[in-house]
Amino acid sequence: MDATSQTIPGEEIEEPAVSKPWLVSLLDLIRQQPLGAAGAFIVIIMVFLAVFANLVAPFDPIVNDYGSMHIPPDGTHWLGTDQFGRDVLSRLIYGARTALVVGFVSAFIGATAGLVLGVSSAYFGGLFDLIFQRVMDVFMAFPLIILALAVVSIFGTGVENLIIAITIPFIPRCARVVRSSALSIREIPYVDAARALGFSHRRIILRHMVPNVMAPYLIMITAFVGQAILLEASLTFLGLGVQEPTPAWGLMLQGGAEEYAESAPWMAIFPGLAISLAVFGFNLFGDALRDVLDPKLRSQ
């Protein structure tokens, strides 16, 4: 999976603001949504580091160097080295790539599947809707981490399976939200008009209803990216996600960080900061996005 191709959903979102000269609208945005702008800033930096990891990272993130184990942060190793002599900063930068790939892919697939299912459920209504809702209830009743844990134990560990494990719990969460917006759209006359014109169900759902629930969909995606990064880190920390030697933030906390917490605290501190900052950035950005796209929710 290529990290660059996955940055599109995040970038797209900023477009609507640009109509005045870009610098002016940028300053407007910062003044109106200072927290959102800060979030966008963090997200952009993270995407940049992930895409250009091979150019930015000072060391190889995978090769062990037993001559330089547990070096505290200094001039060469800015954030120190781990128990295998690997540079913590370089592993963090490459870890951003893993986190973003998992985050974007699972958020995108999960939200899109939820979008299609949610709109279909609202459109068809009746028995289909009733059964579908009960199935969603079942998935919603499962705590997220427990569902992910079960999926990982079936399919095994590794990045692809981790993505599956994280995607599945997202689907009902998005479907539920999208369904409730789609229910009101179904009542609008243009849907009747489209039906009267004899369009197929598929066409009405995809061309007439889906574009009108884009706001909740985009909001869900940004919220999911943050959650996915956190979930990826948690599952990896439990030993159920990404495996060595792939650089991943959760793995850096698992692999000895606890054991060496006292003698080499940098190993435990920096990966956690990276996770927190990334999720923080996406959440701030998502909040601001919700304010802009959905005025009804503005007070929340």
């Binding site: 079942v138 705590p143 427990i146 079936i154 501190i269 999720v279 959440n283």
Partner: protein, 323 residues
Amino acid sequence: MYQYIVKRLLLVIPTLFGAAVLVFLLLRLIPGDICDMRLAGEGGLVDEETLNTCRAVMGIDKSLWLQFVDFIWGFIRFDLGISMWTGQPISYEIGLRFHLSLQVAIMATVASIIIAIPLGTISAIKQNTWIDYFVRAFSIAGIAIPSFWLGIIIILGLLITTQYFSGTPWMPPIQFKPIWEDPMHNLSQLLWPAIATGYRYSAVATRMTRSTLLEVLREDYVRTARAKGLLEKVIINRHALKNAMLPVVTVIGIEFAFLMGGLVVTEQVFNLNGLGKLFVESVDHHDFTLTQALVMVVVTIFVFTNLIVDIFYAWLDPRIRYS
């Protein structure tokens, strides 16, 4: 109202049944079973016959249908069965750890209330000032910071500060003692995980307090109270906050149900022998009966908490009953 409750209660059945089907099938899809784990776990070779006797003892040689019927029949009678790994009744295994998890969950909820309500209130009163931005950033950070990392940092902080002040590093005790036997020991063990999880759960409640309070402060009766010349303190405490509390209490209630499942990671970090750890172990051991039972317990708690919240809401707001 009576009709509404009956309708909602009936909806619980398909959800619980669906969850049972889901967990049952998921577990049967996991490659390997408890006999492989126990007998061939260390890489030793075992002949087919021994494995088959073991499977017969565990009851996993029966057809899937029979196993499923057994599981559901047991669940209906509140008989959770016997753990395949330890051979003890599951209710006993859960009972051993329930106290610890419940106590951490309650303490975490209390911690989150103590953090959320004052912060949310200040944030709403000082809307769009730097205090508001700070509180919002603080609460979003609560969602962003992984609780397991916060746990590691808390342990690290304890080690370093105690080392600095007393010369010997101090760690929270490992052995669990009920609070009525040794309150100091108990609290010094469970306070830290409660803070680590509580901070995380306070985030949602803080945001809820802020947003509902902002709505309430725009209501006419608040304007009337202001016009009467009441003290701002009285307006906030007596008039606004009381009316803003309902959604906040709901959120806290729902989170409490989630907490039981959400403790999985925290218990791992603090090395607590609670339900979350039991769950991870049961998955590791392929202890189907135990995993099934634990999932069903968590799902049942969750479904019924939701039900209570819904009924409570319907009771307060008649519009919901008829929709």
